[in-house]
Structure formats: C-alpha cells, structure tokens
Symmetry: C2
Subunit: 195 residues, 2 copies
DNA sequence: AAAGGTTGTTACCCTCTGGTAACCCTATGA
DNA sequence: TCATAGGGTTACCAGAGGGTAACAACCTTT
C-alpha cells in the first residue's frame, strides 16, 4: 500500500512509527504485526532492519534515552550557579516530556514494560541522568547519599511528569520547571546544611 | 508433593508465593505454571481460587497497595505539625519498602509490567498515596498544582527507593526517612513562600 | 463401609505471535 | 530486452502459555 522506500528511509520510518505504537500499548501488548501494520508494511520487512522485536525496542529506548540525557546535560552545563543549573535542568526535563511525548511514555510511562535487558537499559539512562545532576548536591555528604538524592530528584521529575501526562493535562514546561526547581533547590540547600 | 490444604489456606499460600514470583520476574515473564510450581501445586488449582492470571495479579496489587496506603496514611494522621507529618510519612514509606520488599517490587519495581487494568490499579494506589500527603502542601496554591507536587513527592520517595532496592543496598528506613523528609520539607516551605 | 463433597492431577486444546523460507514485483543499466 | 538486485509479500512453522474437561485421591459423615 505504501510506497517503496530505500532501506535507510524505511528504517527511520519504522523507528518513527513504532515508538508511537510501543508508547501507546507497551512492549508485550504490541505485536510485530501491529508495528508492521502501523508502518504500512508486512512483518518480514521489519526483520530486514532489526534482528528481533527486542532489538527494535532497545533501539527505540536508546534513541529516546539519548535525547533525554543530552537535553538535561546540556542545560545543566550551560548554567552558571547551582540554582540556575537546577532550574535549567528541570526545565529541560519537562520540555523533553512535553515535546518528546512518546519517548517519555516509552521510557517511563505506566505501560512501560521491562524485561531483563530493557530494564538494564532504562536503569542506565536514569542513572546517567541522575549523574548529570548529582554535582548540584553538596559534596560534603557521602557520595552514596549524594547519588541517592540525585535519583530522588529524577524520581520527583518523573512523578510530576507521569501525573500530568497520564491525566492528559497540558503544561508549560518552563513554568513548571521553575516551580519544581524552586522546591528542589530549597530542598538541596537543606541537605547541605543538615549534612 | 505438598500437603493438601483447606481452600482458604491454599488461597493465602498462593498469594504469598506468587507475590514473590511476580516481583522477581514481572507479569509477562511469569507463567501460571511457574506460579503453580512455586506453590508446589498444579495449574488448575490456581484456577480454583482465581478466575484468571489477571485476577490473581490484581489481587496481589490490591493487597500490596493497601498495606502501603494504610502505612503512610496512619503515619501522617498520627503526627502533629506539618514537619512531623512529612517525616513520619516518609519514614513509613521507607519502612514499607524495607519490610514489604516484594510488594514494592511488584508495584513499583522496574520489572513491574502494566497492562490496561493493572496500570489503572497502580495509578489509583499512587494517587491515593499522594492524596494522603497533599494536605502537607500549602493550600494557598491551586489544588491542581498541589496535587501535582504531591505526586512529585511520591515520585521522590519512589526514585530513592528504587535506586536503593535495585542496587541491593540495605538502609535504615528511619534515618533515610528523616533525611529525605528534611529535604522535602524545606522544598515544601519554599513552595509555600513563592506561591 | 458407602456416599458425597473437596482437593488435586493428567492430559489436552487453542490461540497468539515471534520468526522464517520461498517467492514476486519493480526499477535500473548494459 | 533481458538480467539483476533489492524492496516487499504470502504462507507458513513452532513454541509458549492461558485456560479447561475429565478423572483420581482423599476425608468426613452417617
């Protein structure tokens, strides 16, 4: 039905389409036929570009994770002081959620299904995001504790996002980022003081 | 192999055993045969007590969720002022994580798989937990915003817990609860001020 | 000790779906 | 125009796993 495409273009199209399908239905509830249908193509075509369902799924996770990581990292690096870093970081996170909607659902939505390997991938991505913001936290507490709190901040952003996204509410990422950052920054300073 | 049990006892045993199996492997990677084996029994026995795999799984979620909710609610209610409520709430949460380990993994672990209905159940539980702590947040911001931040706090606790549990680190729930509560409380007060 | 309800098992069905072998169609270039 | 290569399809396999019908072992009650 759909036109013939050169291999690289087809591969891209499959990635584009399948991120939507997987995001909406989750891994297990999405069959390769579903993906193929959505792409306007038949199953074997998928296997010309990806070794397995897992392989396709992991490619999607990897891409989505990269976009998240780089967005947050860039934002944090580009800011001057801690407070600004916090604000920019959260803003970037929420902007990513708002713009890269399907990717958010894929990585962190409630329907995100995680087998052995996907779990590892997602955990790695989350951990790296946390690592990017860990320096925001006062270094005079143990590094373990520091990383734990960084994961907490990621969880904070995640919880807020999931709540909003799953209720279908629209939001201004910059405003939200600022508000959450205010809260987080005050919290971080408290940690600093209390050691 | 295992002894004959009266129906209610068998039902309880199945619940006890399957929460472990599901927590460890997730919904889709766990077959009813796996559950049956773990219970020392054969498949049809499971279907004498539960209508379907879904049904069993939802029963587990419900039980786990109840324990979480009541633990947090009780803790929050029993405290006097806001700061103490925050501390008691987080303590109760982390105590639940430490004690009801499998339940935590089942509800919120990375392998937690969520189809249509399970998603709804888990979201309900999380939302109710958030509702229990929403009053901690100053009422002079919009109720929508208030609920969003409450979800953020739940996410915070979740992120911290997941990080610790999945790294297999042991932790003192009371100490951790206090530390996280310090951070959260300072954040909440900041929200209060900035409106 | 026979009856009847309860607990449990064996053996099976059936669907779903990941994956593949074999073939077809279309464009291009010599 | 004919060969060739690469994109695409049809038709199928095979295994896994949810769910069930029929049967067997047990215990209790009379």
């Amino acid at each position: 039905m759909s036109m013939r495409l050169p291999a690289p273009a087809r591969r891209e199209q499959i990635l584009d389409v399948s991120v939507q399908v997987f995001a909406r239905n989750g891994f297990h509830s999405t069959s390769m036929n579903d993906v193929a249908d959505a792409a306007g193509v038949t199953k074997p075509v998928l296997y010309q570009h990806f070794d397995s369902k897992q392989d396709l799924y992991l490619a999607l996770l990897e891409e989505a994770g990269n976009r998240l990581r780089t967005a947050v990292s860039k934002a944090v690096v580009s800011a001057a002081n801690g407070k600004e870093q916090t604000e920019m970081g959260f803003r970037a996170y929420f902007r990513w959620v708002a713009e890269d909607h399907d990717a958010f659902l894929l990585l962190l939505g409630s329907r995100a299904t995680r087998d052995e390997e996907s779990t590892a991938t997602i955990r790695r991505i989350t951990a790296e995001t946390a690592k990017a913001i860990a320096p925001l936290i006062a270094a005079d507490i143990g590094p373990e504790h520091q990383r734990t709190l960084a994961q907490g901040l990621v969880g904070l952003a995640e919880g807020v996002s999931r709540h909003l996204v799953e209720r279908g509410e629209t939001f201004d990422p910059d405003l939200l980022g600022q508000q959450v950052a205010d809260m987080a920054w005050a919290g971080l300073r408290a940690v600093h003081r209390s050691g």
